[in-house]
C-alpha cells in the first residue's frame, strides 16, 4: 500500500519535471549537439550541406589571421576586465565597509551602471571615447583632459589599433565593478567583527588583517565573481557591437563578432558553428571546475 503511493508520488514528480526536462533537453543540449554536428559539416553556403568533414573547420579557423587576433583580444580583454573589476570592486567595498556616512547613496551610485545593458554602456562610451580631431575639436574624455590641462594624455582610444580592445575593457569594468563591490560588501559584512579584533589583538597591522584574515575568508566570493565575470567576458558581443565594431585591423574584434559575420555575411555556417563550439569549450573550462567544486562541497555538507 505504502509502496504504491510512493510510486504514485514519484510518477507525479516525474510528470511535473518532464516538460522542463524535455524543453531543456531539446533547446539547450539538443541545439548544442546540433551546433557541434554543423561545425563538422561542409555547410558553406545558404543551402545546408551536411557532408561530414571532421575537424577541418577547426584547423582552418585556428590558422585564420582574424581568429588569431580575436583570441588574443579576448585574452587581453578577459585579463583586464577580471582584474580591473575585482580590484576596483574590492576597493570600493572596503571603503564602504568603513561605515561611511551616506553609504546607501554611494552604494546605489556604484551599482547603477550594472542596471544598464551593455548596448547602452557601449553607446555612452563610444561617445566618451570619441577621439575627435584637431579640425572638428575634441569630445568626451579628450575634451575633459584638454580642459584640465592634461591634453598630452589625449588618446585615440578604441580607434587606435594599439589600444583597441583595452578601451572596451574600461567600459566593461565601469559597468561591472559596482556589482563586484556589492558581492564583496555582502561578504565583508558576513565576517564577524570578533575575527578582526582577534587579529588586531594578536598584533596584526590593518594590512595584515586584510591579507591574512579577510581575503582568505572572501575566497568563495572571489571565485563566484570570477565565474560570473569570466563567462560574461568570454561571450562578450553586445558591448563590441554598440561601442566599436571590429575596429581598425580587428583591434576590437572578438570571436563572437567574427562568428556572426562569418555565418550571416560570408555564409560560412560551418565555420560559425565551429566558433560557437570553441566559445562553449572555453566557458565550460571555467564553469565545470566550479560546478564540480560546489557539488563536492554540497556532498560534504
Amino acid at each position: 500500500m505504502r509502496r504504491r503511493r510512493l510510486k504514485g508520488e514519484r510518477l507525479v514528480t516525474l510528470l511535473l519535471l518532464l516538460p522542463s526536462v524535455i524543453a531543456v533537453g531539446v533547446f539547450v543540449y539538443g541545439f548544442i549537439g546540433w551546433t557541434g554536428y554543423v561545425s563538422m559539416s561542409n555547410w558553406n553556403q545558404l543551402l545546408p550541406d551536411y557532408t561530414f568533414v571532421g575537424l577541418k573547420n577547426f584547423f582552418k579557423l585556428f590558422a585564420h589571421p582574424r581568429f588569431q587576433i580575436d583570441l588574443r583580444n579576448l585574452a587581453v580583454f578577459t585579463a583586464l576586465f577580471l582584474t580591473g573589476s575585482l580590484a576596483i570592486g574590492f576597493l570600493l567595498a572596503v571603503l564602504l565597509d568603513r561605515k561611511v556616512r551616506g553609504e546607501g547613496f554611494f552604494r546605489t551610485i556604484y551599482l547603477y551602471p550594472m542596471s544598464l545593458s551593455f548596448i547602452v554602456t557601449g553607446v555612452v562610451w563610444r561617445w566618451l571615447m570619441n577621439p575627435g580631431s584637431p579640425q572638428m575639436g575634441s569630445t568626451g574624455i579628450n575634451l575633459l583632459l584638454e580642459k584640465i590641462g592634461l591634453g598630452f594624455l589625449k588618446s585615440g582610444w578604441y580607434t587606435d589599433p594599439r589600444v583597441g580592445i583595452k578601451a572596451v575593457a574600461v567600459a566593461a569594468i565601469w559597468q561591472m565593478s559596482g556589482y563586484v563591490m556589492a558581492m564583496y560588501l555582502a561578504g565583508l559584512r558576513g565576517i564577524p567583527e570578533e575575527l578582526r579584533e582577534a587579529a588586531r589583538v594578536d598584533g596584526a597591522s590593518e594590512w595584515q588583517v586584510y591579507r591574512y584574515v579577510i581575503l582568505p575568508l572572501l575566497r568563495p566570493i572571489t571565485l563566484g565573481a570570477v565565474i560570473i565575470l569570466g563567462h560574461i567576458s568570454l561571450k562578450i558581443y553586445d558591448l563590441i557591437v554598440a561601442m566599436t565594431g571590429p575596429g581598425i585591423g580587428f583591434s576590437c574584434d572578438v570571436p563572437a563578432y567574427f562568428m556572426w559575420e562569418t555565418t550571416f555575411h560570408a555564409n560560412r555556417f560551418a565555420q560559425g558553428a565551429a566558433i560557437a563550439i570553441i566559445l562553449l569549450l572555453m566557458v565550460s573550462l571555467l564553469i565545470v571546475p566550479y560546478l564540480i567544486f560546489s557539488v563536492r562541497r554540497e556532498a560534504e555538507v
Binding site: 545558404l46 589571421p65 582574424r66 580631431s133 584637431p134 565594431g245 581598425i248 555575411h265 560570408a266
Partner: protein
C-alpha cells in the same frame, strides 16, 4: 445654370479619376449571362486568361462592392454584372506565375510584406513613393514595410537568411544586382523571373551591362529599380576655391592637393570606417583606377591575376591616403565623415552617390563631384533589385510589386527621391528633367562610360569573397603591410574561384 453643369462636370472628373485608380485595365459589363472563359476569350483573346480576370475583378470588388465577387472559375456570370478586365501583359504575367494549386490567389486582398534596409532619409521616401503607386494599383492589398536598418544592408541580409531557410520569407525583399544573389542559394529559395522580364519587355529597356549582372546561372532573380555610382570623389567647393584647387584627375594631382591642404591645416581627405566596409569601398575604387575597367573586371572572374602590379600599386595608394585622413575615421560612418565637408574642415571624400542625396537632405549645396582619380570614363555601378522568394506567402501580390518596381512610373518616383538614376534607359527628355543636376550628369555618364560592377555592394563577387576582401582591407589599415595583404587577397581569390567552380 453654367454653375450646375460645371459642378456636374467636376463631379464626373473626380468620379472618373477615382474609377481610373486601381490596377490598369478596364471595366466590363456582361451583356448576356455567360462564363468567365467566354469573357476572357472575348476581351483578352484567350479563354485561358479566365483566372486572371477572376483575380482582377475580385481584387477590385474588395475596394468597390459594385464589382462582382467571383467565387469559382466555372461560376455562371449573370447579365449586367460588372467585371474588371486587366491589361493583357498583366494577365500574361499572372498566368505565368500563378500556381493552380493555390486557388486562394484568385481572391485578391491579403498582405504584401516588403523587406528592405531603406529606413532613413531619401531612401525611405523613395520606398514610400513606390508604396503609394502600388496602393493606387492594388488598393485591396495591405502593405507591410519590413525594414531593418544597418549600413549597406549588412544587418538586413543576416536576418533574411535564416528566414529563407526556415521557409518564412517576406513576399519580396531587396537584393543587390550581381553575385550577391549566390548568397541566397537562389535555385532553392528564389523564383526565376525570366518570364516576367520577357512579358514586360524589360530586356529591351534595361542596359545590357545591367542585364549581364542580373543573370546568375542563366536566370534573372531580381527586378532592378535603380543604379548607383560608387566611384565618385566629392569635394567642398569653398575649400577648393579658397586655395585655388581644381578636382584632381589622377593620383599625382590628388596627392599634391593633399600635401597643400595638410600644410594649411585642413583635413585633405575624409573617410569613415565605423561600418567596416567604407575603407574597402575606397580600395575598390582605387583598384579600378590602377587596373582599368577590363583588368578590374578580370580580377573577379579569374582572368586577371591578383598578383598583378596594379594591385600592389593600389595598396600603395591606399597606404599613402592614410597619411592624410581624419584621425577619428574609425569612429565615424561615411555620413559622419561627410560632416567634415559640410563644416568646411575637410576637403575631399570618396563615397557612392547616395552621398548626393544625403548632402541635399542636410541642406549642403557647396559641394562638387568628379570621378575618383584615374577612373574617368569608368562607372563603378551597383543596383538594388527586388526578388520573389519561392515560399512567398502572397506571390501574386509580390508580382504586382515587381511590376511597379520595373515600371517607368515607379522608377521615376523612386529615384528622384532616393537620389539614384533609374535602371531603365528609355526616359524621355522631359522625364529626365525631373532629376537634379548631379543625377542628370550621372545618367549621361552611365550611357557613355565603361560599366564595372562594384564588389563591396554585392555586384562583382560572391558574399564570402566580399567578406574576405573587406577583412583583408580592414587588417591593412592597421598593418599597412602591402605584400602580406596582397598575399591574403590572392588566397581569398583562389578560395572563392574554387568555390564558384565547385
Amino acid at each position: 445654370m453654367w454653375r450646375k453643369s460645371y459642378l456636374v462636370g467636376l463631379l464626373a472628373v473626380v468620379l472618373l479619376s477615382w474609377l481610373g485608380w486601381g490596377q490598369a485595365g478596364h471595366e466590363y459589363v456582361v451583356p448576356a449571362t455567360t462564363t468567365l472563359k467566354a469573357i476572357a476569350q472575348e476581351t483578352l483573346g484567350d479563354a485561358a486568361y479566365a483566372p486572371a480576370v477572376m483575380r482582377a475583378t475580385n481584387a477590385k470588388s474588395l475596394a468597390d462592392p459594385t464589382y462582382l465577387k467571383i467565387r469559382t472559375l466555372d461560376m455562371e456570370i449573370p447579365e449586367g454584372a460588372k467585371l474588371w478586365i486587366p491589361e493583357r501583359v498583366w494577365a500574361e504575367a499572372f498566368m505565368a506565375f500563378w500556381d493552380p494549386n493555390r486557388p486562394e490567389d484568385l481572391f485578391g486582398g491579403g498582405k504584401l510584406v516588403v523587406g528592405s534596409w531603406w529606413t532613413a532619409g531619401g531612401e525611405a521616401e523613395g520606398l514610400n513613393a513606390l508604396f503609394e503607386i502600388y496602393d493606387e494599383y492594388y488598393p485591396d492589398v495591405q502593405i507591410v514595410n519590413a525594414t531593418i536598418a544597418g549600413g549597406a544592408g549588412f544587418v538586413f541580409r543576416a536576418v533574411i537568411k535564416p528566414r529563407l531557410i526556415a521557409g518564412d520569407p517576406p513576399d519580396t525583399f531587396q537584393l543587390h544586382a550581381g553575385l550577391e544573389v549566390e548568397g541566397y542559394s537562389p535555385e532553392t529559395y528564389l523564383t526565376p523571373l525570366d518570364e516576367l522580364f520577357e512579358i514586360m519587355g524589360w530586356t529591351e529597356v534595361l542596359p545590357k551591362d545591367l542585364l549581364d549582372l542580373l543573370l546568375y546561372k542563366g536566370h534573372f532573380w531580381g527586378v532592378p529599380v535603380n543604379i548607383h555610382r560608387a566611384n565618385v570623389l566629392w569635394y567642398d567647393k569653398a575649400i577648393f576655391d579658397k586655395y585655388g584647387i581644381t578636382p584632381p584627375e589622377n593620383w599625382d594631382e590628388f596627392f599634391a592637393i593633399c600635401e597643400k591642404l595638410k600644410a594649411e591645416g585642413v583635413v585633405p581627405f575624409v573617410m569613415g570606417n565605423a561600418g567596416g566596409w567604407e575603407a574597402a569601398h575606397l580600395f575598390e575604387t582605387i583598384l579600378i583606377s590602377t587596373m582599368g575597367a577590363e583588368g578590374y573586371k578580370g580580377l573577379w572572374t579569374g582572368e586577371t591575376p591578383w598578383t598583378s602590379a596594379g594591385v600592389t600599386e593600389a595598396l600603395e595608394i591606399l597606404k599613402k591616403i592614410l597619411d592624410y585622413v581624419n584621425p577619428d575615421y574609425a569612429a565615424l560612418s561615411w555620413d559622419g565623415a561627410g560632416e567634415y565637408l559640410i563644416a568646411h574642415k575637410g576637403a575631399m571624400m570618396i563615397m557612392g552617390d547616395w552621398t548626393n542625396g544625403w548632402f541635399m537632405a542636410k541642406g549642403y549645396e557647396d559641394y562638387g563631384w568628379a570621378p575618383v582619380p584615374d577612373t574617368g570614363g569608368i562607372f563603378d555601378a551597383l543596383s538594388d533589385t527586388f526578388c520573389l522568394p519561392k515560399r512567398a506567402p502572397n506571390p501574386i501580390n509580390a508580382l504586382g510589386w515587381l511590376m511597379v518596381c520595373g515600371s517607368k512610373e515607379g522608377q521615376i518616383a523612386f529615384n528622384t527621391r532616393k537620389g539614384s538614376i533609374p535602371a531603365r534607359t528609355d526616359l524621355t527628355a522631359a522625364e529626365k528633367a525631373q532629376f537634379n543636376p548631379y543625377l542628370r550628369s550621372c545618367m549621361d555618364d552611365f550611357a557613355r562610360d565603361a560599366i564595372v560592377p562594384s564588389v563591396i555592394h554585392g555586384a562583382a563577387a560572391i558574399e564570402s569573397w566580399v567578406t574576405d576582401f573587406k577583412d583583408a582591407v580592414n587588417l591593412f589599415l592597421a598593418t599597412k603591410d602591402v605584400a602580406g595583404t596582397q598575399r591574403a587577397l590572392v588566397e581569398a581569390a583562389e578560395a572563392a574561384l574554387a568555390a564558384m567552380k565547385g
